[in-house]
């Protein structure tokens, strides 16, 4: 649904986005991940035709955004929840937005209901909390019932309930068959929300993979073991005949890399070591991300 092809943007000497290519498919939530200043917002602005790329292009359903007829019916976007005039009511803000694309006022009331702002619809936005503004921004994105959604940091500044609401909403929208691109620098949240990840750093594409693949490829898998007799376990794991890599962890446990839990258990049994804990531990998305960016030579080269 969204195809980004060789997109680049430079501001003078600074290259904000560097030859970025990726796709966003319908039916899944695609997380657009990267540290602050990685170029996520600039990329999204170029997709929406707000900023002109230095090179490359972004297509939505095969066409550049600026050529879409009634774009709100095809793409819903939330860029900045603060970009509203505080003097308007929530309903007033959504009404002009709806009218610009020939959408009826009934859609305004429907989305206000959907995001839970129906009761404050006629209140001025200047009294709204950040969470309410984010909801209003999401309402604006949903106005045209679009098959494609682009949200820039929608969970920023939300309380746990709001974060959960966004997560459920985005997963629901993707389940309806929409293409959802959501940017964030919050890894733990993305791990829960996104099925697919597009990771960028310093404007360059670092990874384009499903969330599970990404963690498999860049994270470590360790087996955590604890024995009744830690010394015997230590001797077994780090002894001269062992080909395992083991590092001590807290509570007398050991973290073993390079072996399946079955093999460790068999080895322990054969040597009379009694285990009372054996568990596979995978890196979190955040750990995988940190390892990948640390490994990435290009990333380090530009970051330095």
């Amino acid at each position: 649904m969204i195809e980004v092809q060789g997109l680049s943007k430079s501001y003078g000497q600074t290259l904000a986005v560097d030859d970025l290519s990726f796709g966003v498919r319908p039916g899944v939530v695609t997380g657009f991940l990267g540290p602050n200043g990685a170029g996520k917002t600039t990329s999204m602005r170029m997709i929406l035709g707000l900023d002109r790329p230095t090179a490359g292009r972004a297509l939505i359903g095969g066409r550049p955004y600026v050529e879409l007829a009634d774009p709100l019916r095809q793409v819903g976007a939330l860029l900045d929840a603060h970009a509203v005039h505080g003097g308007r009511t929530a309903r007033g803000h959504l009404r002009w937005l709806a009218h610009s694309n020939g959408l009826p006022d009934s859609r305004v009331d429907a989305v206000l209901d959907q995001v839970g702002l129906a009761e404050v619809a006629r209140k001025r936005i200047k009294g709204f909390s950040l969470g309410m503004r984010q909801r209003l921004g999401v309402a604006g994105a949903l106005l045209g019932d679009p098959p494609v959604l682009l949200l820039d940091e929608p969970v920023n500044g939300l309380d746990p309930e709001g974060i959960r609401w966004i997560r459920t909403l985005l997963r629901g929208l993707a389940a309806e068959g929409r293409a959802v691109l959501v940017s964030s620098h919050l890894m733990t949240e993305m791990a829960l929300t996104a099925d697919h990840l597009v990771v960028i750093g310093r404007g360059r594409l670092l990874a384009d993979a499903s969330t599970a693949e990404f963690i498999d490829r860049h994270g470590r898998t360790r087996v955590r073991v604890r024995a009744v007799d830690p010394d015997k376990l230590s001797a077994l794991l780090r002894g001269p005949g062992s080909d395992l890599t083991a590092e001590p962890a807290e509570g007398g446990a050991w973290e073993v890399t390079g072996a399946e839990p079955e093999r460790i258990a068999a080895l322990a049994a054969a040597n009379g070591v009694v285990l009372y804990e054996i568990a596979v531990q995978r890196d979190s998305l955040e750990e995988a991300f940190m390892r990948m960016t640390a490994d990435s030579v290009e990333y380090r080269a530009v970051a330095a």
């Binding site: 602005r45 929406l48 035709g49 707000l50 900023d51 002109r52 955004y65 600026v66 050529e67 879409l68 007829a69 009634d70 774009p71 709100l72 019916r73 095809q74 976007a77 860029l79 900045d80 603060h82 970009a83 509203v84 005039h85 505080g86 003097g87 308007r88 009511t89 007033g92 803000h93 009404r95 002009w96 937005l97 009218h99 610009s100 694309n101 020939g102 959408l103 604006g140 045209g144 019932d145 679009p146 098959p147 309806e176 068959g177 929409r178």
Partner: protein, 260 residues
């Protein structure tokens, strides 16, 4: 998803889309009190002050000694500040609040968005011009014996009506070139309010200052000729229109060229 039902039968012709953008601009105006009250204040100021001045000087008939248009349009000196503010606010508040990005996401055709703003600003300006000018003449009618069918009076009335929309378009265009509400307020409102009047009082600068938009536009209001002005009354109105047109063109170029 109801996307197909929404996008399908209502699929849009360019004319309907242009009307939709104008509708959206109208909704922006009516949903923001600080915006729609501005032209209203302009009319009230223009007419109110014209009335007060003519009421205060009612005993003296100045029509023989002085150009009567000075008294009739006295309120315009104040009311025009509101007209200028209206033009500035029409797009300036979008830059200030950041809604310009939302607007351009909803209407990516930048010329169409700017055209709708020009049309709305010009239309509201014209309405304000009609009300202000009619009100000013009515307020002055009691004290000045005017021949309403004389060419000078007709020209002054036409110029009085058109002065408002031209000023709105000028300020709208200039603000779009500046892309900043505060800068536009800082630059345009003192210029309109006192800058060019002060400049016109300096002998050396007067020659050039008479070609500034508000000076030229206001010369078209005068019933009598003024010595030292290098153009005619109608030409004065044309000079102001050229300024407004140039500002509108500059605003369109700026909106098209720059990243939002």
């Amino acid at each position: 998803m109801t996307t197909t039902t929404l996008a399908g039968p209502r699929a849009t012709a360019p004319a309907r889309r242009k009307a939709a953008v104008l509708h959206a601009e109208w909704t922006k105006l009516t949903t923001l009190r600080s915006l729609w009250t501005t032209p209203l204040i302009g009319v009230l100021l223009t007419v109110g002050i014209a009335y007060a001045v003519n009421d205060a000087y009612g005993a003296t008939d100045t029509s023989l000694t002085e150009d009567p248009s000075i008294g009739i349009y006295y309120g315009l000196n104040f009311g025009q500040v509101a007209a200028a503010c209206f033009g500035i606010l029409l797009i300036g508040q979008e830059y200030n609040a950041g809604t310009i990005r939302t607007s351009l996401t909803a209407v990516p055709a930048r010329g169409r968005l700017f055209g709708a703003k020009l049309l709305l600003g010009g239309g509201i300006g014209l309405l304000a011009g009609l009300l202000s000018t009619a009100g000013s003449y009515l307020a002055a009618g009691a004290t000045v014996d005017l021949a309403l069918d004389s060419p000078a009076t007709v020209r002054s009335i036409v110029a009085g009506v058109l002065y408002h929309p031209l000023l709105v378009i000028l300020c709208l265009g200039a603000t779009t070139m500046l892309r900043n509400l505060t800068a536009a307020m800082g630059l345009l409102s003192p210029m309109v309010f006192l800058g060019t009047t002060v400049l016109a009082a300096v002998p050396g600068v007067r020659e050039a200052a008479q070609f500034l938009p508000d000076r030229a536009g206001q010369y078209a209001l005068r019933h009598q000729d003024t010595a030292g002005i290098h153009y005619g009354h109608w030409t004065g109105l044309l000079i102001m229109a050229l300024w407004a047109g140039a500002a509108a063109y500059g605003g369109l170029r700026s909106l098209r060229r720059h990243d939002a």
